[in-house]
Structure formats: structure tokens, C-alpha cells
């Protein structure tokens, strides 16, 4: 019995098709405005791959900021709940799970697929992927370039300001005072990691953390975050699609009630 989980995010659309044993993932670039088009595309690709048809899908659960645009959904649920379900489906027993997307920053504490606490990050760009996105546009550097440059520096500095807008001015002054771009980029990642850690963990040390969402794909961020948090940070396979997987699993459970 196949089900679909669709996570319509601000920057990417994630879709998971599963019957419990056969699970397939898709992550497509493109934000909220094109959510339904991307969702259709992702679903068609997944169905073709699995060799099944639309009518073979019994239940579809949508999550994320664009979930209302997913007209073909049968239901929806909170992202945090889907995230916990997804981690459970992957068999990962870590209790602290951080989801860092382009506009989201939150941490759940979960156990056996159930959420028992949620901590939200700052409501502004300072704690989200937007911080890095904005600065990468500002510096005319691609994401990959920024990740590479991080590893070419060993600076231990962080930026003074938390606000992305003011950070741009700070970066300009650093460039004017002759700082190397690699050092600046490294301090950007370090600042960002520090902000996220501070907002979500408030200085507590936790041995094991899991990280999902777009930022989990950044080696530079992971390195900075591991250092600043002092924790072991696990990144599951398909880190961006864990919540979508959870949605598909929730869809499995609720099929028997239909």
C-alpha cells in the first residue's frame, strides 16, 4: 500500500513515495510559488520509477509552508511531528533533532517517533539558511565556493553582528581592512553556527544531535557547528527529505482508518 509524503518548503519541494519497504525520495529546487507544479513533477517521476500509477497511492500527507497549495493531498500535519516520524522510520535513536532550512530553524526532542518538546530558533534570518544565502549573493560567491573557502582558512573569528543586513556592512569593512575573503567566509559560517547553537541549545551541551534540512548539505556549516556545539552531529541519508518521509509514514498509519 503506497503513500506519499510531500514537504513544500520555501526553497525546495521534497516528495517521498513508500509502501513501507520500497521507499523513494525526490528533492526539487523551487519554492512555494511553484509548489504544486513541482509536486506533480516529483510525484510523476516517483510513480514511474516505482512502476505504479496514481490510483495505487492510498493516502497523501502534505507538510511545510506551501502545503495548502498541494491540492491533491488527503491531509496535512505539523512539520515537527512528521520529522519525528521520519527519524523513527530511519531507525535513528537520537533525541535532539535540528531542522535548518532556508526559513526555518527549530529543534525537536523526540523519542520513538513522538515529539515531546520543540524549541524555535530566532524568527529572523539570523538563524536560517537565508543568512548564508543572502551573504553568498552579496559576496557573489556560489554555495560551493563558500564551502570550499571555509576550509582554506583557519580563522577562529566570528562576526560582531547577528543581523544579516548589518553583517553585509561588517563584511564590507572587513574587506576594506584587507581581510582575506577566505577568512571572512569562515567567520560567516562560524557566526551562523554560533547563532543557531545559541538559539536552540542555549549553551547546553548535548552529546548527540541529528541535523536535517538544507543546511545539513553544507560541509562548512557542519564543521563549524560540530566545533561550536561540541556535539557529535549525525546527518541522516536524504537529510532534506526526512520530514517528507515522516509524512509518508504518517500517511501509512492513517490509511487503515479510511
Amino acid at each position: 500500500m503506497y503513500t506519499l509524503g510531500i514537504d513544500a518548503g520555501m526553497k525546495t519541494l521534497k516528495a517521498v513515495l513508500s509502501n513501507g519497504t520500497d521507499t523513494r525520495f525526490r528533492v526539487l529546487e523551487g519554492g512555494n510559488r511553484s509548489a504544486i507544479t513541482l509536486a506533480e513533477k516529483a510525484v510523476n517521476e516517483l510513480l514511474e520509477e516505482a512502476g505504479i500509477e496514481r490510483k495505487d497511492v492510498c493516502n497523501t500527507i502534505a507538510i511545510g509552508s506551501g502545503k495548502d497549495a498541494i491540492a491533491f493531498k488527503n491531509g496535512d500535519c505539523a512539520e515537527s511531528i512528521a520529522l519525528a516520524a521520519g527519524m523513527n522510520a530511519l531507525g535513528i535513536k537520537i533525541n535532539h533533532v535540528i531542522d535548518l532550512g532556508v526559513r526555518s530553524c527549530y529543534m525537536i526532542r523526540c523519542n520513538h517517533g513522538k515529539v515531546f518538546n520543540t524549541v524555535n530558533g530566532p524568527r529572523c534570518a539570523a538563524g536560517t539558511g537565508s543568512f548564508l544565502d543572502s551573504l553568498s549573493v552579496f559576496l557573489h560567491l556560489s554555495y560551493d565556493e563558500m564551502n570550499d573557502m571555509y576550509f582554506r582558512s583557519d580563522s577562529r573569528e566570528v562576526l560582531q553582528t547577528r543581523c544579516v543586513v548589518f553583517a553585509e556592512s561588517e563584511v564590507i569593512s572587513l574587506i576594506h581592512t584587507g581581510r582575506k575573503k577566505e577568512d571572512i567566509v569562515r567567520s560567516i559560517f562560524r557566526s551562523f553556527a554560533k547563532q543557531v547553537y545559541g538559539a536552540l541549545l542555549a549553551g547546553d551541551s548535548v552529546d548527540n544531535l541529528a541535523l536535517v534540512g538544507g543546511m545539513a548539505n553544507s560541509p562548512a556549516f557542519l564543521d563549524a557547528f560540530r566545533e561550536l556545539s561540541g556535539s557529535q552531529v549525525l546527518v541522516p541519508n536524504h537529510p532534506q527529505a526526512v520530514a517528507a518521509l515522516g509524512a509518508a509514514m504518517i500517511a501509512q498509519k492513517s490509511v487503515s482508518f479510511r
Binding site: 520555501m10 519554492g31 512555494n32 510559488r33 526559513r103 524568527r123 529572523c124 534570518a125 537565508s130 543568512f131 543572502s134 553582528t161 547577528r162 543581523c163 544579516v164 543586513v165 548589518f166 564590507i172 569593512s173 576594506h176
Partner: protein, 261 residues
Amino acid sequence: MITAGIDVGSSAAKAVLLQDDVIVASTIIPTGLDSAETGELVFSDVIKKAGIDRGEVSAIVATGYGRVNVPFADKHITEISCHARGIHSVLPKVRTVLDMGGQDIKVIILDNRGNVENFIMNDKCAAGTGRYLERVAVFTEVPLEEIGAFSVRGEEQAVHVSNFCTVFAQQDVISLMREGVAVERILAGVCDGLVERILPLILRMDPRPDFAVTGGIAKNIGVVKRLEKALNMPAFLANDPQLMGALGAAYFAKDCVKNER
């Protein structure tokens, strides 16, 4: 006796020449990257406008971000005090001042003599500052000084724009522009959001009439009207809202001269 007040802000540097309680000349120039140079530039500019020599200025007081960078000033006084003094000189009944500049937002409570009773400042977050609107101006392709008028036109049909963060608001504006939403509606949403964002800061200070708005934002009629509605108080505007800090500084310069006598 002519005195000068110089206010070097994050975005703009202002200078005022005061004689017998009248502004004889004033100037506003962009601050640029080197505020030490800016202090000199803005002062030269204003004395040139008045057609006088440096020597004819009896005293100079500097304020603003660059107040430490105007070495030739006789005294440096905080921007809060200068703003309060400047506003009090033109609007003596004002007790609450909202000053929104390029990079920060201040709320100042005055007593009936123009002394600062209380104040609060946000300079950690760009939301609601001139920076926020500058970005909006870029993405909507509407000049900064016209945003207010556009937002008034779009008032009835404002679309929601994220109000908490400059970056998110910018992302929303870009999306909405791509969708072809009328720019008046977007700007109405931006101004609505801006006021929502700063209102708690103002309310925290227990605002009382008369209420005045200074700084670059005073030129934005959309924000001013929305503030009046939210606070249920008319907003008084000085004719030259950006010059209040420099004006107050020029008045403090008068005190310097009096004290020396």
C-alpha cells in the same frame, strides 16, 4: 553669533548653522565609508552655503555615530540629547519622539523642558530601519521617497509581507513582484508590517502626546499615517526631520559659547 551642529549618521551626515535661533544654512550628504572625512566635508559644505568663513562660527558641537570622528568640534554630545533638544526647539509640546534613521530606531520621552526622561534604542536589527526600506526600494523599483505615497494608494488592498525580518520581507517582495501583484499593494503591506514591527517598542515607553516622528522615516507619509492610527495620536513632523540632531547640536553649541563668556 553663529553656531554649528554636525550630526554624522550611519547613512547621512547633516550640518546646521544657527543664528539667533534661526537656521541660516543646512546640508545633508551621504556618510560614505570614512566618517572622519565626512565630518569635514559636511561642515565645509554648510559654511559654503551660508557664504561665511570657518572663523565666523563661534562653536561647533558634533553628534551621531561619527561624533567621535569630528575632531574639530568643541564638544561631542549624545545623539539622544541632541535630538531631544532639536525637536523641543521646533515643537515644544512634544513629549514622545520616534526617530527612525538609516540603521536604528529610537524612542525618546521628553519632559516639558526638553530634557530626556527615558529612551530606548534598537540598533541590532535592521527591520524597520532605513536599510529595510532601501532594499524594498531596490526590489520594487520605487524610489525611497515615493514609497510612502505608493503605500497610501495601496492601503485598501495591502498584501501581507513578512514583518519580522528585513531579509524575509525582501524575499516576500521579490515573490510578490514576480507574481505581478500591484506594487502599491506590496508597499502597503511593507508599511503595515513595518509599523507592526516597531509598535511594541514604542508602546513599551508609554507614549504620551504630543507625539513626533523624526529621521528619514518622517518623509514617508504611509508609515506616518499608520503610526497615527496605531497610536491614536497625531504625529507632528518637523519641516526638516533629518536635521533635528544637528539642530539640537547647534543649540548645545550656543550653550558652549554662553558658558565661556
